[in-house]
Amino acid sequence: MTAPLARLMDVTKSFAGLERPALDSITATINAGRLTGIVGPDGAGKTTMIRLLTGLVQPDSGAVEVLGADAKTNPGAVQAAIGYMPQRFGLYEDLSVQENLDLYADLQGLSETERQASFDRLLDFTDLKPFRERLAGKLSGGMKQKLGLACALLRRPRLLLLDEPSVGVDPVSRRELWAMVRALVDPETAIVWSTSYLDEAERCDETLLLTHGQLLYTGPPAGLTERVRGRIFRLHPAAAEKRSVLQALESDPAIADAVLQGDSIRVMTRPDASPQTRVLQGASPAAPRFEDAFVDRLGGSHAGPSPLGEAMRTIAASDAPVIEARGLTKRFGDFVAAQDITFQVRPGEVFGLLGPNGAGKSTTFKMLCGLLTPSGGEGHVAGFDLRRAAPMARSRLGYMAQKFSLYSELSVRQNLEFFAGIYGLKGAHRRSRIDTMLDVFELGALAHRNAGTLSLGFKQRLALASALLHEPEALFLDEPTSGVDPLARREFWSHINALVKKNVAVLVTTHFMEEAEYCDRISLIYRARLVAEGSPDALKAQVRGADLPDPTMEDAFIRLIERNDAQRDAA
């Protein structure tokens, strides 16, 4: 039997200005020898829960006990004994790796001998030894997280709290980080890892599943996935029909969930549906995932077909590309950020740009929507050269940034008015477009609320509505659904699906593998170059082998990058 290292007892915590509590009567335990995942979408209460465990936040009611001390009355004792890595770990960017370690060693009160042993152990462990003198600000995202972890581990704490350590970290570094943390689990130690990536939940020993401040599930992840065993299937429609099939499935009462997964569709039936339902002909059973179970626990997807299709004009189908990169190159001084990138996106196609951080995918994306001027090559949108006819090109594209660039002081309607205005919509047409968007995205009731007070899901809807007011031919999406809950993600992609059927061309940049699965074609960009291109299934096929009979998108990503490194070393 494992002993609880920390306990939350009927804890409620509210913040001023929020409608519901960030955490609502939560009771949970963190056990030694276990890697516990706090899992849930953004805004679920993960960070609040971790901060309660550090004593940095006090509960409104209930009690928090950590390593035998009461976090409310004796936060000092708690803080002296735990290791904590906040979401944006507070590395001092103008201090070197070694200086950051020294600082935290001093703050933790490590003696001289302890310190040397600790540093050696941790620098080895994190592979940061060669970078000791480098400023923390100059490290990559993955290395920063490793350094943050090292600082939190200086005293070998019995309770290690990691708040979303994998945010902003590409899949390769994410795997390394997982391996490192896994290796830390021993019978005396408990590790808490919070995440919004549901695939990470499956790697935990225990999960605490949170949404909207409620604890939905506690226990090993398999316990949750078990509930949907036997209800997961994979359909293989013809490539041209997959979006129509998906729409049909979304409105089928027997189907709890349907998502694109490369060329196939992943389907979950409702528990009461007969497994012989007609739509599942030709389907193969598949292993359940944590995400399936989460969606099921939330009552299944309610996305349904998006009404957005009716609100958008149909763009003439054509073979002419809507978005085109021809030998795009960007240099910043001596540094080449993107080199000779060429690809085309045709009407009705979803095209993904994938790659590790700093590989050049954002640079390419920015050149194509006109945010950066290329040093060489050309970018075209809707036939207009971005360099010579930039305003014409820009009036044909819609853009949705990762952080939903809305004006938070303006109301929902004022935001829409503003974007309609700068895209030159006038008079009755403007009013009708705005009203249509308010209807389609069910924002009517919130029209007078300030955009800054909306929940993440509604912000996302408003951002998409703002980008579509002028019925663009090309839509640019920058990590559109990172951190949102799986239901909101399904809803978002059902809107995108509807746009694609109207022949809008969509360019997505992401390192979120679920998003990559929605794409028709993907370009993998690594070290400033385009290293692989093809449909998600084609990329997976490239890495399929005896050791990997059924590679995931993440496997494909990692293998292709390793392969590129190997070729490079050989050359």
Partner: protein, 380 residues
Amino acid sequence: MNAARPHGAFSRIAALARKESKQIWRDPSSAVIVLFLPLFLLFLFGYGISLDAASVRIGIVIEEREPDAESLANAYLTAPDFAARIYESQALAEVALQANRLRGFLVIPSDFSQRLRARGSGPAQIYIITDGSQPNTAEIVANYSQGVLGAWTTQFARDQGLSAEPALTIEPRFWFNEDLRTRYNLVPGSIALVMTIIGTLLTALVMAREWERGTLEAVFATPVTSLELLASKLIPYFLLALATMAACVLAAVFLFGVPFRGSFLAILALTAAFLAPALGQGLLISSAAKNQFVASQLALFSGFLPAMLLSGFMFEIDSMPAPIQAITTIVPARYFVSGLQTVFLAGDVWSVLLPAIAKMLGLGAVMLFFAWRLTPKRIA
């Protein structure tokens, strides 16, 4: 527990203070604030604000061509404080006054020499017209003009063999600043202003920056107490501000030629005492405002403006309305201004310096206390 060991506290403060110093050293923007900005401001104040009127532009309108009138006009033309020129008519001089080309003009009327020579018809009058839209300059024009007239009249009477001596005179002696150079008191006052900006703005910004970048959360989750955290912020910036002060004093003495009659010890004590409320105010602001924009606005509004207006640097505190005078008693710069002017010009007058130091330390204690109470180890 570790947190209770005092030597633990010292090593933590030292670690944080070391970190802070490295950051200051590496961040070019703090060098701008610490060295460039103070000297730039001191330079502006030193050259930009001078109340020592020199070559005030005045016009002279002579309505008669008699030797007496010419002689008086000549006295104005050669007076060192004026840059005077003759205007053909009063109308022309009026236009020039309206157009800001003149600060004032004199009219020597057509009956001037006649009244001067014919006793009994009352004094010979001249008119001194000033531009009242600049009250300060107008006053100076009026006083200087009267002075020139008085001197010319005395000389005239003497030439005529008349007794011209007034029954009694009062001889002024300006202690500490014999030639009445306003720069001598404006430069020490400016140093107080500059140090307020440095002390308050810089500390307000560095704490706000830590809040914004999220670096405080990780530090909070260690055994560090908020008192230790504040101490670690105070020490490096205290030393830094002393360096700024040294630069300012050197500039004042060698660049602006302000005499320095006090002792090193006195100015050190005064500066150290002033930094307590100045840095404390910065920390207090940043504990209330956790973003840099609001912090900078508050620092300017609660630090810079009172230091400029309510410290006695530009305007006499005694002459202000009573409620505003009451506010000035909690402006630390007020005590620093009078202390600095004393140390520079009068020397170590402890009867001025000790109360000033005591009041600044008192204000500092209050501000630091509130900064400490308002910087809990809490995120929310």
